[in-house]
């Protein structure tokens, strides 16, 4: 039983990271109906920005919470800007073209970031400095949780609540909802659709950057292709929860994280990546709109 609960703790930690990445997918999809395949690579950039900041401020030699917070925030700000740039130069020019063009552009941006990363950072892995001294706590009956896992959970939950607050309580969040509902009507009401879309990209990229830094905290190996698999899996998580649905992305992320850890722990590590796509197939067969998604009849 101890083993099972321990696996659950591991799974929830991973799941909250998937949830953070999935939120970015889901928000962009909700507003633009675009699957931003470059999102996983923004997550990679987040880890690298964090790495360079940590090196620059010397967070490894003297780990303290303030420096860790600086690493996290600087990565989020840098990636927020990257998100804005990507939107402005890659997606905006094709916004009036067919959806397929936008999708292909997204794949192009993804390849650009991956190979650009190899060019700039090098292909061999870097190791994220330990900006927080690892410590473990025993919860009950030998089930342990490390302070890094706790930080991942706490930061993820805090960011999810912050996002919820922005989307439901602020003017810009209400504008986002309006654009998602009907962009033409929203623009007629005086909402600058362009600015809202830019804002959405910035928000999503910031969440991805946070996920990148959080993962690097406990799995310190970072490399330019590290975003591919988590990106794909977070996309599956977003679909699983119901793409376009914010709470759905969180639920989908958690289900994915737990499923993955249980498969590795009890069946075989070979199926670690396969389980994501098995879940995708099952959900598409059983409940195509996702766990929390509502089925919307297509108007013709």
């Amino acid at each position: 039983m101890t083993e099972f609960f321990q696996q659950l703790v591991n799974g929830v930690t991973w799941g909250s990271v998937y949830a953070l990445i999935a939120l970015g997918y889901t928000m962009v999809y909700g507003i633009l109906r675009l699957i931003n395949f470059a999102h996983g690579d923004v997550y990679m950039l987040g880890a690298f920005f964090g790495y360079f900041t940590a090196r620059f401020i010397g967070a490894a030699h003297d780990p303290n919470p303030l420096k860790a917070l600086m690493v996290l925030l600087s990565a989020m700000v840098a990636c927020g800007l990257v998100g804005v740039v990507i939107e402005r130069f890659a997606y905006k020019p094709v916004r009036r073209s067919s959806r397929l063009s936008a999708l292909i552009t997204a794949i192009g941006v993804s390849l650009l970031l991956e190979n650009g990363g190899i060019l700039v950072f090098g292909a061999d892995p870097k190791f994220f400095p330990q900006i927080i001294t690892a410590r473990e706590f025993t919860i009950a009956h030998g089930v342990t949780i490390s302070n890094q896992q706790l930080i991942i959970l706490a930061v993820s939950v805090a960011l999810m609540f912050a996002l919820r607050f922005i989307v439901t309580r602020t003017r810009v969040g209400k504008a986002m909802q309006a654009v998602s509902f009907n962009p033409t009507a929203a623009s007629l009401m005086g909402i600058s659709v362009d600015r809202i879309i830019t804002f959405t990209f910035m928000l999503g990229s910031m969440l991805a950057a946070a996920a990148g830094v959080l993962v690097a905290l406990q799995n310190p190996k970072i490399e330019p292709l590290m975003g591919i698999m988590p990106g794909l899996k977070a996309f599956v998580a977003a679909v699983l929860g119901g793409i376009g649905n914010v709470p759905g992305a969180v639920v989908g992320g958690l289900v994915m994280g737990i499923a993955e850890v249980l498969v590795v722990g009890y069946i075989s590590p070979t199926y670690r990546d396969a389980i994501a796509f098995v879940l995708l197939i099952v959900i598409l067969l059983v409940r195509p709109a996702g766990i929390l998604g509502r089925h919307v009849a297509e108007k013709v």
């Binding site: 690892a134 473990e136 342990t144 722990g265």
Partner: protein
Amino acid sequence: MTSRTVLRIAPAAALLLAVLTAAGCGGSASQEELVVGEFGSLTGNDATFGTSTKNGVEIALQELQSRSAGKIGGLPVRVVVEDDQSKPEEAATVVQKLINQDRVITVLGEVASSRSLAGAPICQNAGVPMISPSSTNPRVTQVGDYIFRMCFLDQFQGTVMARFTAQTLNLKKVAILKDSKSDYSVGLAQFFTEAFTALGGSIITEQAYQSGDNDFRAQLTAIKAKRPDAIIVPGYYTEAGLIARQARELGLKQPLIGGDGWESEKLTEIGGEALNGCYYSNHWALDSPDPKLQAFLQSYRDKFKGDPDAIGGLAYDAANVLFGAIEKLAEQDPSAFKGLSSAHAGSSARSEAEKKLRDLIAATTNYAGATGTITLDQNRNASKPAVVIEIKDGKKVFNSTFNP
């Protein structure tokens, strides 16, 4: 593009092309040389393996430079290095390139057995000798009679790890965490299991991961539930370092025991304090008084401002064994030696010379290298002692020697 710009660009392009072709031809035809190929993981997951190998070969070249102006039998030696990005499929591609385009006389490489196994059949079919400095999986040299190695085999290494665990540390119940994608790791795990059960120990659980993974908590949690005395991690250094950290985070205090795949300066950088009290078997210990080793250590420190690892030492030995064999051929059979020159690439003289060179490498006996005395047996393997290294306060300290 308008037709006028085409008219302006075309002559310039033609001129450029002519210059490039002329330069290309001039470079390869005018000078006769001995071209040696080397392939390794200069980038990717196991980047220090390739870098160490390259550095080791460079030291051997530097010595050749001071001994005979970098020439053997009057021909300058040039080493072409190719990066396989730590991927077996890339290894096959770059070995093809070395053989078909660079027309090398011998291939040096690789460290990881999976990648040596990808390159070996290509060398064997082309009749080009391949010397793997440090691949320990037995299947590597079984590919054919043109494939050699400078190190011990995993049967022996598995036995050493088993004897060390069961007899020196007196631990009888262990868990194995192996890399199911690596021939080296799977082989070493199997040889360890055979030797360890023969010594009365038992494997209480065997878990696996895939190279490139960075989260091992699920496997370690399953291992923790079985309460082993030690965890055997027969993989490479990147994963070993990460596994150590995550094991300590999950409250596993048992020693981790690995093989020569842990040998890298990055190991302790990745694993940090989590590796203290862990052990691994290796080809050498840097604090050994062996004069050949100490001489190599000195030149390495002068050139690269750091300490070599055993992978670099084995590459140095491999290059020296090869240079020795070529020198012997130049002395004993100057007419056959001519076939090795780049001018004879692809000719029948070349394949004759390759055959003779192969025989000379195979005849290597009592060569005193930096990693010990090398004598190749009829299966083209070296039989050498292994040492066990203990990690203490982030330092690699000699623990014990095991003789074959």
